[in-house]
């Protein structure tokens, strides 16, 4: 069945079709979540939460053409909610320790994820969508609900900050030496 047909069915209230769509995009959902939260456990939580919210709000999807845009937007909200929740409830040192704790796999990528975590919310989102997901500026503008030129500005600024951070520790940053990685 074509994706568009699945979307139409999902919109009409067919939950199995929506589940199928989520599964169809599961790799991208997981990877994007991973880039936001930096570890497997939290990324899975974000995916779960996205599925949950997608089911509850599928009726609000106006144009079925933009299913993935809509879904990505939900995922990003979920990722930020999770990150905020962690920030609110766990002292920051602990959080850093936890993220480092769960380090696994590709160190370069994780350095990148860590640097991304320091960026402002909209810089980060535009970078992730543009660089990682290879979304066109037009699409990013839609997901973020901002003008295309603003996306370009965010991208440029985010990129500059990221460049500064990658590989180097900021001079005014509190030095942390966690032994756990």
């Amino acid at each position: 069945m074509s994706e568009q047909k699945l979307v139409l069915e999902a919109k009409a209230g067919n939950k199995a079709s929506l589940e199928q769509l989520l599964i169809l995009h599961s790799d991208q959902l997981y990877r994007t979540a991973y880039v936001y939260v930096g570890n497997r456990e939290d990324a899975l939580d974000v995916v779960q939460e996205t599925a949950y919210r997608a089911i509850l709000s599928i009726k609000k999807l106006r144009n079925e053409q933009y299913f993935l845009t809509w879904l990505t937007r939900i995922l990003i909200h979920c990722a930020y909610d999770l990150l905020k929740k962690k920030k609110r409830e766990i002292p920051i040192e602990k959080m850093i320790e936890q993220t480092l704790d769960k380090r696994e796999g590709n160190i370069e990528l994780l350095d990148l994820v860590e640097a991304l975590n320091k960026l402002k919310e909209h810089y980060r989102t535009s970078i992730i969508l543009f660089y990682f997901q290879d979304q066109p500026i037009r699409e990013i503008a839609k997901i973020m609900d901002i003008p295309e030129n603003t996306v370009k500005t965010y991208l440029r600024r985010g990129k500059d900050q990221l460049k500064k951070m990658l590989g180097g520790v900021e001079y005014d940053e509190k030095t942390i030496f966690p032994r756990r990685v």
Partner: protein, 452 residues
């Protein structure tokens, strides 16, 4: 920044497919709560795995009779089906989860410990919550708990957990590493919930845990990095039923008390194994001017039978002290790490009316696996001009720009803008090689450990 690089990295992110599927299904199920009939599959799995359990039990419990053993380790339902705990799930398949039914009530909320496992150095607990608790917008409930009375010496002794909606309340799970070197066979560990939803209170348990049969492979192989003055002995491998722990003792010089030990572990196919947790500090002591650190790294799977040996590549990320150079020093001057092959060679310092220009080479031009950009960032962020009196504290450095003189040879030029009141003696060049060493840990010798 090249887009291709990001996309490659993105595509390299390993997707735990069955877990992602599970996450989607759980999310969908949560949204449909109330319309789902209780699972039937559970029992079937449980029954069919009795045979497997029998074999494991008869070979691992020597004294108790089989029936007693079965009572201790009953075949239980899917405690871990909904939780993202690889070890728990795997043990459940092997029916090695012990059912517990202990309830603590406070403020009209009942918390019940429903199961526990203790495999090698890893402990897992599942629990359920009943009563009037306030869920968050998404339907889940959060809780705060302490283990070992929140002992500050134990990492992660206070944690936050999220519970999922179940048929008659909420369920949650906790996984922790036994925080001590010696692993008692049978013990209880103190677990106290301090908040459930928005209710503060105390729900306290002494969770009884019995260690599953495991094998200790004594290793005693040593690995060193003479220059870094670090040695590491792989003491033993704890081969559990669904987890493998590597215990080691690292000896560091006293100035290396903030060094990080990192292990990379490969199987006999050369595949790198994911670690559940790396570098858990169990004990730290001082002997003369040496630091002795007993540590542990855990792999969330049983490896005997899957690989003949483990290749362990220990690495140490050395904490580098800042190094300084006076501006009137004779050039070239080489600021080199005392413990590893990292250096910044100051080739030339040119002081003018309004600026100071410093030419330098990083790491003698050796890039290793890193991109030039990484060293460019280092040149920009960690080679700074600071006030002599403030050199040890991280104050705002003088504004500067960096250009690459020779990218391939890692030669850079930094130009610092001088303030009006600048005097040559008041400022020093500060080089902080920590970001290099944290990203390029120094390898020790590889150790091959046979598992058979």
């Amino acid at each position: 920044m090249k887009k291709q690089f990001f996309q490659d990295e993105f595509n390299k992110i390993e997707v735990p497919e069955s877990d992602v599927l599970k996450a989607i299904q759980t999310g969908v199920k949560r949204a449909n709560t109330g319309t789902i009939t209780p699972k039937r599959k559970t029992r079937m799995i449980a029954l069919s795995s009795v045979a497997a359990a029998t074999i494991v039990l008869s070979s691992s419990f020597l004294s108790p009779t089989l029936s007693k053993a079965l009572a201790d380790v009953p075949v239980v339902g899917t405690f871990y089906g909904n939780f993202n705990d690889l070890i728990g799930r795997n043990l459940e398949l092997q029916t090695l989860i012990t059912e517990i039914n202990e309830t603590s009530s406070n403020k009209n909320v009942d918390v019940t410990i429903t199961s526990a496992y203790y495999d090698g150095a890893v402990i897992g607990v599942t629990f359920k919550v009943k009563g009037n608790v306030k869920a968050e917008e998404d339907g889940r409930v959060s809780g705060m708990y302490e283990i070992f009375d929140g002992d500050g010496a134990i990492s992660d002794s206070r944690e936050l957990t999220y519970m999922e909606v179940s048929e008659d309340g909420y369920t949650g799970h906790i996984q922790l590493h036994y925080p001590k070197t010696s692993l008692p066979e049978e013990t209880t560990f103190p677990l106290e919930f301090k908040r459930i939803g928005e209710k503060e209170g105390s729900w306290r348990f002494d969770v009884p845990i019995t260690q599953l049969a495991y094998e200790t492979i004594n290793v005693g192989q040593e690995s060193t990095n003479i220059e870094a003055d670090v040695s590491l002995q792989i003491d033993s491998i704890i081969a559990g039923n669904a987890s493998t722990s590597i215990d080691y003792t690292a000896t560091l010089p006293s100035e290396g008390k903030h060094d990080q030990i990192r292990l990379e572990v490969y199987d006999d196919q050369g595949e790198q194994l994911h670690l559940l947790s790396d570098g858990i500090d169990l004990e730290t002591s001082k002997e003369g001017n040496r630091m002795i650190v007993k540590g542990r790294s855990i792999i969330p799977e049983a490896l005997q039978g899957k690989t003949e040996y483990l290749d362990i590549q220990p690495k140490v990320a050395i904490q580098e002290p800042k190094q300084f150079a006076q501006l009137n020093t004779e050039t070239p001057v080489n600021l080199a790490s005392a413990r590893q092959n990292l250096a910044v060679n100051i080739e030339d310092i040119l002081v003018e009316d309004n600026s100071v220009t410093v030419d330098f080479q990083v790491n003698n031009g050796e890039k290793g696996n890193w991109d030039t950009m990484f060293f460019h960032d280092f040149a920009k962020n960690d080679v700074l001009l600071v006030k002599e009196t403030e050199k040890e504290i991280n104050q705002k450095p003088l504004k500067h720009s960096v250009t690459a003189l020779d990218k391939e040879a890692l030669r850079f030029r930094s130009t610092f803008e001088l303030p009006n009141n600048f005097t040559l003696e008041d400022y020093v060049l500060s080089v902080n090689m920590n970001s290099l060493s944290m990203n390029i840990p120094a390898p020790l010798e590889k150790v091959r450990v046979t598992l058979e």
